[in-house]
């Protein structure tokens, strides 16, 4: 690791946060889409049980995937910072 206050390091840190934000937005977008489908089927009375059944499985999977990414991101960066 170089001098943590250098411009290069600041740029790296910023881009890492951008990268993480994009990942969160991607997963968040998919979850929002699934929720939108549930809401639409609920509003139209269009067999909401199917939407709810699938989302009960799908949404936790995306949350777990995001959690793993966050765990690694946080863990590696905090360790690097401490050093």
């Amino acid at each position: 690791m170089e001098n943590p206050s250098s411009d290069f390091d600041r740029l790296v840190r910023t881009l890492q946060w951008v990268w993480l934000t994009v990942a969160i937005l991607l997963v968040g977008g998919i979850i929002a889409w699934i929720v939108h489908l549930i809401r639409t089927s609920w509003t139209l009375g269009d067999v909401p049980s199917a939407s709810i059944g699938i989302s009960i499985v799908a949404i936790p999977i995306f949350i777990v995937l995001m959690s793993v990414v966050l765990y690694v991101f946080w863990g590696l960066r905090s360790d690097g910072r401490e050093r």
Binding site: L15, L26, L37, F62, V69, Y71, G75, G80, R81, R83
Partner: protein, 444 residues
């Protein structure tokens, strides 16, 4: 992180550090089918789906065949990487990265086939805005999104230590590698975090992968169409997917072994093991195919028999028997006795399986639509140059993406190879002692 151990694996960094003439020739060669595909899509975009061979009743042709085929190939990464990692198979080390890359690349290519098949890509917005979860197509969209996210994560996590090596040793693209390395320095705590995350992903990615190809099969089996409405379609598709995935992985391994001089890493023993795996899958695929067709034949339901005869002795017989030859006969002949020329035999079998599995997808999709249950006029499908172009372009694009990946990241995991040298040998010995019934002499 960089130390003398890295110099041992110089061959793995060379493709990234240096770019030879061969690379440019390969890109030039691959750009031919890609340009053909782009031209074909351009024509289709302006003229509409009328320029293809698709019509009523056959509204799914090459595009959906390619979609199922590419999604199937994506199982290479899951099976080889996740299952072998979880089962602590030491021979996986030079293979996992290649398998994971195949998964990510073909998922994008496979999913894009649906866009091409739509004819009007702007209508994809309708799926997002007005989708209905009663449709298996929406199940597909959801499961493929999950699989894509999981596969990208599962590819990226084990790459972090290697990206750090590139950051410290390569001297170019420093910003790019620094961002992706996430401050990796290889401390014990960082390794613990990464290993835990990789283990979670390895467990998670297997059921997701199985669900993806089951859901792809549901697109067919949830209809009441002859020879589609089958309860074994889920596992049948999963077996076929793993089968074609292993074959595609072997082909990729052999190409890069030759191109980048990786003979020290990808040894005949790896191809022997993968060949045995391919043989098992060939037998399993044959068993499922036999069960599927025997049940249909024995039932002798008139609508089913129309499709059955079209495949066995009718207009699709060449494709059907070609599929049997490529997926069962040739692999059996090549793989039953892997004496000498292991790599050559395994390559021949794998190329045969890749072709055979594409034929299998075609044989599932098209004949049923040609002889539908409802009183539609029957019709035989034949693709135009547009579909051929799209197909060639898709394969070219996959190969190009793969090639470009090897110019940015090591195609064989450096840290896993190193871990195998430093820790793996000792671990295997200790594990072996625990398996044995008696105390090994000199060991406790």
């Amino acid at each position: 992180m960089a130390d003398t151990a890295d110099t041992l694996d110089e061959a793995l960094l060379r493709p990234i550090a240096e770019t030879g003439r061969g690379f440019y020739w390969a890109v030039a060669l691959l750009s031919i089918p890609i340009l053909w595909g782009a031209l074909a899509y351009g024509v289709q975009f302006y003229e509409g789906l009328g320029v293809t061979g698709l019509h009523q009743p056959v509204s799914w042709g090459f595009y959906v065949t390619n979609f199922v085929f590419f999604i199937g190939i994506s199982h290479a990464g899951t099976l080889i990487s996740a299952i072998l990692r979880l089962s602590k198979a030491e021979w996986r080390r030079p293979i996992t990265r290649m398998a994971e890359v195949i998964t990510c690349m073909v998922l994008f290519i496979g999913a894009s086939q649906i866009l091409v098949d739509l004819g009007r890509p702007d209508r994809l917005l309708n799926v997002i805005l007005h989708g209905r979860y009663q449709s298996p197509l929406l199940w597909d969209a959801t499961s493929i999104s999950a699989y894509m996210t999981a596969s990208l994560t599962y590819l990226y996590l084990p790459m972090i230590p290697d990206i750090a090596i590139l950051r410290d040793r390569l001297g170019k693209r420093k910003l790019f590698y620094s961002v992706l390395a996430l401050g990796w320095t290889g401390t014990e705590r960082q390794q613990r975090i990464l290993n835990r995350a990789i283990a979670i992903m390895a467990v998670l990615v297997i059921p997701i992968a199985v669900s993806v190809h089951s859901v792809v099969s549901f697109v067919f089996s949830m209809t009441l169409q002859p020879m589609w409405h089958s309860t074994i379609f889920g596992p049948y598709f999963v077996v076929g997917a793993i089968f074609s995935g292993i074959a595609a992985l072997i082909v990729a391994m052999i190409i890069f072994r030759k191109a980048y001089g990786l003979q020290h890493y990808l040894k005949p023993i790896h191809f022997r093991y993968l060949g045995q795996l391919l043989l098992v899958m060939a037998l399993l695929w044959f068993y499922f195919t036999f069960a599927e067709y025997l049940t249909g034949y024995y039932g002798a339901e008139p609508e089913e028999m129309k499709v059955f005869r079209a495949k066995f002795s009718g207009p699709f017989r060449h494709f059907f028997w070609g599929m049997v030859l490529c997926n069962f006969v040739i692999p059996l002949v090549c793989l039953v006795r892997l004496g000498r020329r292991t790599v050559g035999k395994v390559l021949a079998a794998s190329l045969s399986v890749v072709v055979g599995m594409w034929l299998e997808r075609f044989i599932i999709v098209v004949p049923t639509l040609s002889f539908p249950r409802l009183p539609f006029p029957e019709g035989i499908y034949w693709p135009t140059w547009v579909e051929w172009g799209e197909t060639a372009g898709s394969f070219g694009l996959f190969a190009l993406f793969y090639l470009l990946f090897t110019k940015f990241f090591p195609i064989i995991s450096i840290w896993e190879i190193r871990e195998g040298r430093e820790v793996g040998i000792k671990e295997v010995e200790e594990r072996l002692i625990t398996y044995l019934p008696d105390e090994v002499e000199g060991k406790t």
